[in-house]
Symmetry: C2
Subunit: 254 residues, 2 copies
DNA sequence: CGAGTAATTGATCATGCTCAAGACCCGTGG
DNA sequence: CCACGGGTCTTGAGCATGATCAATTACTCG
């Protein structure tokens, strides 16, 4: 059971990092314990001194921060195959919370196992470092969206991001994927109110850009949606970096 | 010259990570080339395939993202001693820009040197990983602030954050530190307009919380400012993690 | 001293919030 | 199989935070 979940994690890591067979085996043998969490459960709470990272096997989770007044802002969404909280391996004292957005199956993987793998195989260590850093790039993009884009563009951007990530994770296509999320939750991801999310979704539907419902999102016009979102995929870093091209490489083509 | 700049970087790393003398020497011998950049220069541009990371020796820099329309959002500020763009070591293809906010002295350190140090000394690799991850935590906090706090609280929070980081960097105290930044730049960090930044600063001054001018910020009432910002330092992760407390540790106290 | 940048002020505008009520949807139990 | 109930979605009306536009004043640095 852990193995199949870890296979998804390995696949994820390989989207960004080159990992050989030995390293693959090390990932598959990380072990861990499968757990269920109910919707609204906190998987991690601020202040926790964590000893495990959580691989999302099934369901949706979100990292969030909360103001004194209780207003909640999601800072990241995690889908199946994400090791949400890989951060905690290197920074065990959580300064954030992670919540199950719907009933979730997680695999709790010990930091000790993750660190041992990272130490035994430098490529694994770098893959972990790379993935947490890519997550940081996503945080930064969310910051930029919240700071400088109007509500409808934020909505559109989030839909494009999730679609792209779903497709890379093999959970659907970028234009048609399953997701169970309420407008309240979208509001907390977008820094809006649920009422306004509702109106923005209606606008996107009216423009013929998306269709929603039945726990799915379907994008009817990707180009138009991406344009309205100013969505450019590069920040997701879903490209294994080519070896730094030697300056002379261009000439080899002829 | 590089050595003294690298000493600041080492000091910074040691705020979060335990590094021995050999590791310290490795950091001090990273080498690099000192360069000057004028205000408004881009130190890194989106799409660059970078080969060096940039240590800020003197001055202020910002990572930013820009919308089609040209609206700019800073996603991170970097002060002296910050290795801005340590991220690029593991993700060389920049999906962001870095700009000099005022005349800046940087030390360009080769990725090859940084990676070699990380590979030779696992503790250095982890320190790098930890610092980039802590940066990610700061991005996440900015996201939360932009999404869920009103302008005056965002302003207050940024001032608290910079003060705290300045103090840890040894560049002043948290309540009185030098900084050269325009209201336009603050606006781009806070997702506001310069006009509104001006008004929020006036409000904070009128409440007797801060004093500004002469390239300094002085905080007259830290507690009140932190309260208005809902500032809690934990997200900066300026604490070297205690060894995971064994469950029995509690009993040792008596 | 002069030019350019930055800070400040005022007036109007609009995006997105608040509050409130009603419709819809879906799982549960009678 | 249907009624019930809670959560979610939808709609409307008024409000406010922060944007926009447009001067004017104050620095700063040659």
């Amino acid at each position: 059971m852990p193995q199949s979940a870890l296979a998804a994690f390995l696949k994820r890591l390989r989207l960004r990092s080159e990992l050989g067979p030995a390293e693959g085996d090390a990932i598959l043998n990380l072990g861990g314990r499968v757990e269920q969490r109910a919707r609204r459960d906190d998987i991690v709470q601020r202040g926790d001194h964590t000893t495990h990272a959580c691989l999302i096997v099934e369901g949706l989770a979100a990292r969030y921060d909360e103001t004194e007044a209780g207003a909640r802002q999601y800072t990241a969404l995690h889908i199946s195959g994400d090791m949400c909280d890989l951060h905690s391996v290197i920074l065990p004292k959580a300064a954030w919370n992670i919540e199950a957005l719907n009933p979730v199956t997680i695999l709790r993987v010990a930091h000790t196992a993750l660190l041992a793998a990272a130490e035994a195989y430098p490529a694994i260590g770098k893959a972990f470092w790379r993935d947490t850093t890519a997550d940081g790039g996503i945080f930064a993009k969310w910051t930029a969206n919240l700071g400088r884009k109007p509500a409808h563009a934020r909505m559109a951007h989030l839909i494009c991001e999730i679609g792209t990530r779903m497709e890379h994770a093999g959970l659907g296509t970028r234009t048609d994927f399953p997701i169970t999320v309420t407008q309240d939750q979208l509001a907390d991801a977008l820094g809006l109110t649920a009422v306004h999310v509702n109106r923005m979704l209606q606008a996107l539907r009216a423009e013929g850009l998306v269709r929603t419902g039945h726990k799915r999102i379907e994008i009817l016009n990707w180009d138009a949606l991406a344009a309205c979102a100013d969505f450019q995929e590069d920040y997701l870093q879903f490209v294994r970096d080519a070896a730094p091209t030697p300056p002379a490489a261009d000439y080899c083509i002829a």
